[in-house]
Amino acid sequence: MTEEIIIAGFGGQGVLSMGKIMAYSGVMQDMEVTWMPSYGPEMRGGTANVIVILSSDRISSPIIKHFDTAIILNQQSLDKFESSVKQGGILIYDSNGITRHPERKDITIYRVDAAEEAGKMGNPKIFNMVVLGGFLKVKPIIKIENVIKGLKKSLPERYHSLIPMNEKALQRGTEIIKKV
């Protein structure tokens, strides 16, 4: 099993940390993982993206052009990465701020209105966990319990009180994601 994922959005949206949580969760599940961020000028205010590869085998190239899953969180990233999804792959997007929706017919498109949902839940910061919950609903390659373990491992102790909130957000994500 190998899953090649790109997560792309604005800097500050939690793109890199969502990828990091995925990677930690993969480690908790004894998988091989790579987490390759875009770094440098793009990160400062513009778009941020990260490639996460989870695999049962040794991982070859950490930098790739085609993905099994693209998780898209803004219009610029949709424009840039819609064409990078492998045929038969998956595109997950949040429609918040999207003016041109994805159009490809040879991939499966899911919508998860995570920004709106996180607002309703009273904590916009858990937005990325709602998205992650949605992803894990359609691609259950990591168990939610391992995500929680990953969170415990990656978050400093002083933030551990926030874990139940994150768990709720993951749960909400699994409920609100829908096929387009």
């Binding site: 091989e32 987490w35 770094y39 440098g40 070859s60 190239s61 930098i63 052009k65």
Partner: protein, 355 residues
């Protein structure tokens, strides 16, 4: 003691491995894409636990000269930087090579020339393997291709550096420095309490003074020293070649790639083999000494060889010298901070073999 599993950036792995290897001193100056090494060490504060010195120098030049001083005292010392910073260090590096001192220099390469870009490149191959500074000298050059190797090669580098009294360079790049992977870390080693006999630690009345210098104004003596270095480099060429082979058993076409490009090429091999093209990969782990003998053997069986590197074509010269005309050799790779895509390698391959 068992190894410890962590998820880390390549840069962080270098820093943590340095602490655990019992390094005596780190001297650095920040530059993207390797600043996490210094940042990690400052946060880990090993000076409170193992006693390892961590110092942000006033410049790259100062840092390498602190390494020179520490090495002359027989200490396990290191510095890290990225391409423009490594250029600044070259004077110090040639002096350390000329004084036959052990140390570790890590170059997390970014695109050049000049300030270039902060994105990954492999355009410092010539500088790392052919000298870099002035004079007839070589560094031992290791090329990590994973976060695990970023950690493992720290201790290996120090072992080789002390064995041959020669500076060792880890030639990494921005991609390996910035990416996170699983890494198994060795248990903490104590810092060495023994001082090598050649180290300058103060002259007791019981022995002659020890002089460490790279200067000899007598040409005959200097030539004898040069010959001694040549003999050392030949011994290193004989004993320390390291490489990894990937699907070479039946390969008609051979990719040669190190570091990030080797990872890319593993995927290219899979993609090409899916199309029925028999491709394999030789990954040099040591760039000096270069696996010339093995490449020459393989050249007898292959139809073509390809040097895949993120540069205008540097390692390709060593591949050409190794195969000595036995087989056609081509270079391919992106530059300017762009990582070659696995598919691009396959396309290039097909354009040459006409399939």
């Amino acid at each position: 003691m068992e190894k410890e599993l962590r998820l880390m950036k390549g840069n962080e792995a270098v820093a943590e491995a340095a602490i655990r290897a019992g390094t005596d001193g780190y001297f650095g100056y920040p530059i993207t894409p390797q600043s996490e090494i210094l940042e990690y060490l400052m946060e880990a504060k090993p000076y409170e636990t193992t006693g390892m010195v961590v110092l942000q120098a006033e410049s790259e030049v100062a840092a390498i000269n602190m390494v020179y001083g520490g090495a002359a005292c027989g200490k396990k010392v290191m510095t890290t930087s990225s391409s423009p910073g490594i250029s600044l260090k070259q004077e110090g590096i040639t002096y350390i090579a000329g004084a036959e001192l052990p140390c570790l220099i890590v170059n997390v390469v970014r695109g050049g020339p000049g300030l270039g870009t902060i994105q990954p490149a492999q355009s410092d191959y010539f500088q790392a393997t052919k000298g870099g500074g002035h004079g007839d000298y070589h560094l031992i050059v290791l090329a990590p291709a994973s976060v695990q190797e970023m950690a493992d090669f720290v201790e290996l580098s120090f072992d080789l550096a002390f064995k041959y009294r020669n500076p060792v360079m880890m030639l990494s790049d921005g991609a390996i420095g910035q990416m996170m992977e699983k890494v198994w870390l060795s248990p903490q080693k104590e810092r060495s309490k023994t001082v090598p006999g050649w180290a300058t630690t103060g002259k007791p009345p019981t022995r002659e003074r020890i002089i460490i210098t790279s200067l000899d104004l007598d040409p005959n003596a200097q030539e004898r020293f040069n010959q001694k270095l040549v003999a050392k480099y030949n011994e290193i060429r004989e004993k320390e070649v390291r490489y990894e082979e990937f699907q070479l058993e039946d390969a008609e076409y051979i990719l040669v790639a190190y570091g990030t490009s080797a990872r890319v090429c593993q995927k290219s091999v899979q993609l090409a083999r899916n199309e029925g093209i028999k491709v394999g990969l030789l990954r040099p782990i040591t760039l000096f000494p270069f696996p010339s003998k093995r490449l020459n053997e393989l050249a007898g069986k292959a139809k073509m060889m390809f040097s895949i590197e993120m540069s205008a074509g540097q390692m390709v010269e060593d591949v050409l010298l190794s195969v000595n005309g036995k087989v056609p050799v081509y270079h391919f790779g992106r530059m300017g901070g762009i990582v070659t895509a696995p598919e691009e390698v396959v396309e290039f391959l097909k354009s040459k073999i006409g399939g």
